[in-house]
Amino acid sequence: MLYREAGQFKTDYTKDMAVFPILQDRIGVGVILFIAAVIIPLFGSDFLLQAVMTPFLVFALATIGLNLLTGYTGLLSLGTGAFMGVGAFACYKLTTSFPGVNVIVWIVCSGFFSAAVGVLFGLPSLRIKGFYLAVATLAAQFFLSWCFIRVPWLFNYNVSGAIEVPQRTLFGVPITGPNSAPVTRYLIVLAIVIVMTWLASNLIRGRIGRMWMAVRDMDIAAELIGIRLLNTKLLAFAVSSFYCGVAGAMMVFLWYGGAEAEVFNINQSFTILFMVIIGGLGSLIGSFFGAALIYILPIILRFVPAELGVPLHAATVEHLTFIIVGALIVVFLIVEPHGLARLWQIGKQKLRVWPFPY
């Protein structure tokens, strides 16, 4: 009976509509934020910050982005990688063209460019649905990938053909480029991800979120209660691509520190989609779970044999990792097809009725 809402009465609608109406949830979130913002930066190793946490957060943001589109609006997209790329290249163009403006501003603004591109490729969604829609987004994926390689203007005619991240500072502290400390970059990523998660939760709790979900669940009925399908879908494409774009820009500027077009390939799109599904379609918290499982699990698995002292070749470990991750995905789906988020909910439900089984 540790976790229950009984006894917590809401006296007005505003409180009832809060993100975390239950006290225990609020405490939990506070603790997590504290760990993320204070404990990890203070005590985490560079490896943890740079190779685990930062990528995890970047992926989580991209996953949220795709979740808004696929999980909340029901539009399947396989172009996430490319939309992330648009964000990255836009940010690169912006910060090299206007070096005076702080790069964080540009990271966020680059989202608008991918939003615009997203809307463009979202147009066919009015007529095309389901897996068929995936082709429209695949067209985006391959076409944009091609552009990233073929339009040298995008990478400032660099001979290397890649984005090279210049050093930028905030209050004199380097935040991008090789001299920036992993912890600085981590904190920036964390801040952006927290703020954008909060904004996303605002959106989905309000009218727009309901419109999206209505379109997802039954578009005909949605149309008949007066929701304009095209506008709603395009808005979803825009917002989703915005998130992906920002994630892409963060990925290059705050994680990789430089990138080839290859980074934004179709595999990236699939990876994000899988994070969405494994985490739970239509769940923000699930996006974090999904990103963690798909990104962090293989890393951990890779360390296991070494920790156990089993002498295995790096390649064999990799093969086994693949096998185990593959099997685990299936197992997770069998245990809970609605994703980790649902597992989480059921866990809470069990806590609520604890110590009784149901």
Partner: protein
């Protein structure tokens, strides 16, 4: 017990594993051999650790971060994509990057890239040798006028690398450059590209491909009856598995190379004796001595020599990344040294300097005879005079676009 930690980023998985595996074997076998035969370098054992990248930049960066904590003396990214990520980090983390004949061509400029090394030759050197070779067969550079030279390349930064040089040479010598990009997703589906080749009828083709793209290209070339002796691959298109699938069709196909093939070298024999025969290698016995295997061995020779040089300069036994950087900058593998190493005739001498991290060394043609690669030309000097200005310009552009790129502070050692 003191060791020197040498991480090897390799890929034995993923779509490019075909090229990755022999290289990985060669690299680790040579270093293991040093441990087994000599007890390491200068009496210090090497701690060799492979990290699997799958040719994926993400995993490469992860490997780098994971290895960073263990004080590596050198990084071998083994992928242009990963190299690009690591170049800016090298100076900060004080770990030199050795991207042997790949990576960023501009990093040959030691003044701007003190921490990055790409001997023995850059892609631009390679492309210039291709042009030279074509000219030689046509009867002189002036005979190139009006000829068509084609570049079949992977549509990615790696594949596009030779373009600026070839364009410059095209202007200078009056030949026409035709580009044939192969998108990564179409690596094994090149028929329309080769139809284009058939229409354009280029006189020579330079193949800058990787992985499954190469065998497909060679096969398709054979299919349209393109004369094989006019198809030249960059050194990365010279794997045994690149030519073998085309069978007889690939006979006469040549690729650039900078080290010998086969097992007739004391050093390779030592590897067989101390490593392979003792079951300390993952290699299949008959694959020892193949082109890409020897490429790996060559790569490790450079690593080992750099460490040895570092020990010599500093007088320390256990060297650090900073020391090895100095060692890499002063590599001087002479004929005599090669002989000592048991590698006489295996490669040409290599020398680097403070300003020149590459050396622009000689390369030669290896031709596929239907079952193996055989050396088919003399060592050819690249057009260093054409390549060097491009490199300096590119390095300058790189530094300019990366605002805040640090000025070189590392002093040049006297001897270089």
């Amino acid at each position: 017990q003191d060791t020197i930690y040498v991480p090897l980023f390799t890929y034995r998985t993923g779509p490019f594993a075909g090229s990755g595996i022999p290289i990985a074997n060669g690299m680790s076998d040579y270093l293991t051999m040093l441990n087994e035969r000599d007890g390491g370098i200068g009496g210090v054992k090497l701690a060799i650790e492979e990290c699997e990248t799958g040719y994926d930049t993400k995993k490469g960066v992860e490997c780098y971060e994971a290895s960073k904590g263990k004080k590596p003396v050198i990084t071998n990214p083994y992928s242009t994509g990963i190299t690009l990520q690591l170049i800016p980090k090298a100076a900060v983390d004080k770990i030199p990057v050795l991207s042997m004949a790949y990576g960023l061509s501009a990093s040959a400029d030691g003044t701007n890239f003190p921490w990055v090394f790409n001997p023995p030759a850059t892609y631009w050197d390679g492309a210039s040798v291709f042009v030279k070779f074509a000219a030689q067969k046509e009867g002189g550079l002036d005979k190139l006028k009006g000829k068509k030279l084609g570049l079949v390349h992977l549509d990615a930064p790696y594949g596009k690398e030779p373009i600026p040089l070839l364009e410059a040479l095209a202007k200078e010598y009056g030949f026409e450059l035709k580009l044939y990009p192969v998108p990564a997703s179409e690596m094994q589906n090149q028929s329309s590209l080769w139809l284009n080749v058939r229409r354009d009828r280029p006189d020579w083709i330079y193949l800058q491909g990787w992985g499954a793209m190469n065998p497909t290209a060679v096969k398709e070339a054979a299919k349209i009856n393109f004369p094989m002796d006019r198809l030249i691959g960059v050194w990365w298109a010279g794997g045994d598995d690149d030519a073998r699938p085309a069978g007889d069709g690939a006979k006469g196909y040549s690729s650039l190379d900078f080290h010998a093939v086969g097992t007739d070298f004391p050093v390779i024999k030592d590897i067989q004796k101390f490593v392979v025969d003792k079951g300390k290698s993952q290699v299949q016995k008959e694959k020892v001595g193949e082109n890409l295997y020897n490429r790996g061995v060559y790569n490790s020779m450079l690593i080992a020599e750099a460490i040895r040089t570092a020990q010599k300069i500093t007088g320390k036994k256990v060297v650090t990344g900073e020391d090895v950087r100095r060692g890499l900058e002063q590599l001087d593998i002479t004929e005599a040294r090669l002989k000592e190493m048991g590698a006489a005739g295996f490669a040409s001498p290599v020398r680097t300097s403070c300003t020149d991290h590459n050396g622009h060394h000689k390369v030669f043609m290896a031709t596929w005879d239907g079952t193996k690669w055989v050396k088919s030309s003399d060592w050819m000097e690249p057009m260093k005079d054409k390549v060097r200005p491009l490199i300096e310009a590119a390095a300058k552009a790189y530094v300019e676009s990366n605002t805040g790129w640090p000025k070189r502070t590392e002093p040049c050692d006297k001897s270089s």
